[in-house]
Subunit: 434 residues, 2 copies
Amino acid sequence: MPQFLDTAEPGFEAAFRALLAAKREDAPDVDATVAGIIADVRARGDAAVIELTSRYDGLDLTPETLAFSAAEIDAACEQVLAEDRAALELAAERIRAYHSRQLPEDARWTDATGASLGWRWTAVSAAGLYVPGGLASYPSSVLMNAIPARVAGVEHLVICAPTPGGVANPLVLLAARLAGVDRIYRIGGAQAVAAMAYGTETIAPVDKITGPGNAYVAAAKRRVFGKVGIDMIAGPSEILVIADRDNDPDWIALDLLSQAEHDQSAQSILITDDAAFGRAVADAVERRLLTLERRDIAAASWRDFGAIIQVRDLDEAVTLSDRIAPEHLELCVAEAEALALRIRHAGAIFIGAWTPEAIGDYVGGPNHVLPTARSARFSSGLSVMDFLKRTTLASMTPEALRAIGPAAERLAISESLEAHGLSVRARLDRLNEG
Amino acid sequence: MPQFLDTAEPGFEAAFRALLAAKREDAPDVDATVAGIIADVRARGDAAVIELTSRYDGLDLTPETLAFSAAEIDAACEQVLAEDRAALELAAERIRAYHSRQLPEDARWTDATGASLGWRWTAVSAAGLYVPGGLASYPSSVLMNAIPARVAGVEHLVICAPTPGGVANPLVLLAARLAGVDRIYRIGGAQAVAAMAYGTETIAPVDKITGPGNAYVAAAKRRVFGKVGIDMIAGPSEILVIADRDNDPDWIALDLLSQAEHDQSAQSILITDDAAFGRAVADAVERRLLTLERRDIAAASWRDFGAIIQVRDLDEAVTLSDRIAPEHLELCVAEAEALALRIRHAGAIFIGAWTPEAIGDYVGGPNHVLPTARSARFSSGLSVMDFLKRTTLASMTPEALRAIGPAAERLAISESLEAHGLSVRARLDRLNEG
């Protein structure tokens, strides 16, 4: 059973704070190991990557077989059932359509002084996407990471996906092909991150690395940050559902369980203004847990981190939701659109009972890589912007420099940066001569 | 004297690679000290901050005097010369005008299935800006950090600025007032970063911390990243000037020196297609170094990291510039606008000889907080976007769910996430009943 909280109870604030502060993940400290792996890959390149892949994945590679060949990818794609392929294609198309709208515009204008100002967006040249092996090898994540990169205009896009024992997920290879990935390396762990950041004889270095991974991958991403760009370091998944009594408790139970089944550190919270509805959802969760394939994981998550919070009204729900700053927020209430407008901190909002969060994981269109652990207070989900950067532009005319140069010179002097001031003064003097 | 390189020489590629790889900064490892300071501030709040400020800044504070009072700020602002105030006001106005154009638009649309999709931008609620004490206490940086936050709509904006021995820079206080900062705390170092990230009895926690600082501040920002958002960890400043023979060598020398004078780890590079012009600039630098106030710093930077690169033509200059991915790029060539369009990786471009980089440091309008150390390959300068985050929106109609739900269910099953699939299936079944 999850925690039951009630805002009308005197102990609520303390209990809610404890819920917010709950440490759901105890990542092992693998930093020293990872530092050694990165140093090894930097020093020995392919040889280190091959040796580490043999040790950790039980897979013996050569420089020639580090990447899947086109024939291998063809063969894997042919194994995919037509129905699965159609589903992936629909997802790819919808994700592409959504993200294409994110392309920002360049700007350039001339102000009253005659100065021309603006900015220009350009794509990162090369990006690398990490795809975990084993159970968490999700083809949907390949689409969610690779398509925004392609839409942004990234020229060289590679994947590293470990294949322990040599077993690859055909759907991952098909998703990579649909997304237009250039190369797929069958390597993983910190060695894959190091190879993408620093390059080896066979693997060209990239400028940005995204994608989820285990503690080794996360530690490696933190370490190479600065040498290359990285996306966020994702924590366990979360959902907050705000639902009124006019919902089917079973639907809401399944929505809560669709986060809980990810990971026993995942968190599912229901906020409702109806106590009886809250209990009905709790009962529905228990019923579903009897048969769910991943019931052990889901039950542990629901027991340890799940919560049902009873509020007096939906105003309270909005306030609590913004304090939680959930990764996923489902609004299953009568005036869901109006409520959505009042929410300030959330990675993604799913509006209305016909929009289960799982739609957003696959085919909705928006990205499913979203800020966890309350970081929606200050960060956004993955987007085309993560693969773009902006160069600012400024061009002065002599007249513009005459208008604003003296202020720059003055500020330079006040900051004791004489050469800054002189670089402006030398030009102003020329104008005054002329 | 700086290095002279020539793309026509056989050793060029190796020398250029060495220039790119030069390690200009040896940050001391203060991570353990910083971890201790953060833990102390989390445990003891104000008491720890006050004790550390007494120890490191020689300044004895109480909870009541942690922040400057309005009267203290008034008094400081009155000390500022009218000419300095006017220059700061002009800078603030131009920075505000430029950044106001960066506000992104929300989007919402309905696709062919009837699904309503979109996103909404919201501001970070509270932001904290670190302003170094001593020599690097730049009022211009206060404007460059605080104004984008205010333009974004940040509600609560604070500054931490150490005042060793109690000495404050009146221009910093005036800049903070002009930018609309709410509170200015006279604390610094890792203790200030910890106080902003975790809060104390007196200091409310913020969601995002930006601004430059020393090794302690940088280490603290890395450590609190995740709990709060941070901007980039800036390295020493850099400029690349691409100039042809039709320039005054003295102007270009001053532009190179205006980076070199920042820091002996700064880097100034000239690329020119005219060897004689390159030598003339080198001579002009030497002449200016005879009298420059900060000649010791500038001379060390120019000697250790400066370079003059001779190219055969401007095509080569573009290629080399993109490999350098400079923080600041000045284009002093005949067809500067056309050349700017060909540049892909640069933090900021200053187009034409009437646009010295120093204009951009103060009054141009674009931000002067820019990606260093080749990170313009994957990141952008500070902007309004750094204080905003995007929430994605999705709302399905029953018809939309009927159209795309089966694909989501299919993909969920292929990823062994049964509850995901069931959450969609339960709704589809209802539709089929109806």
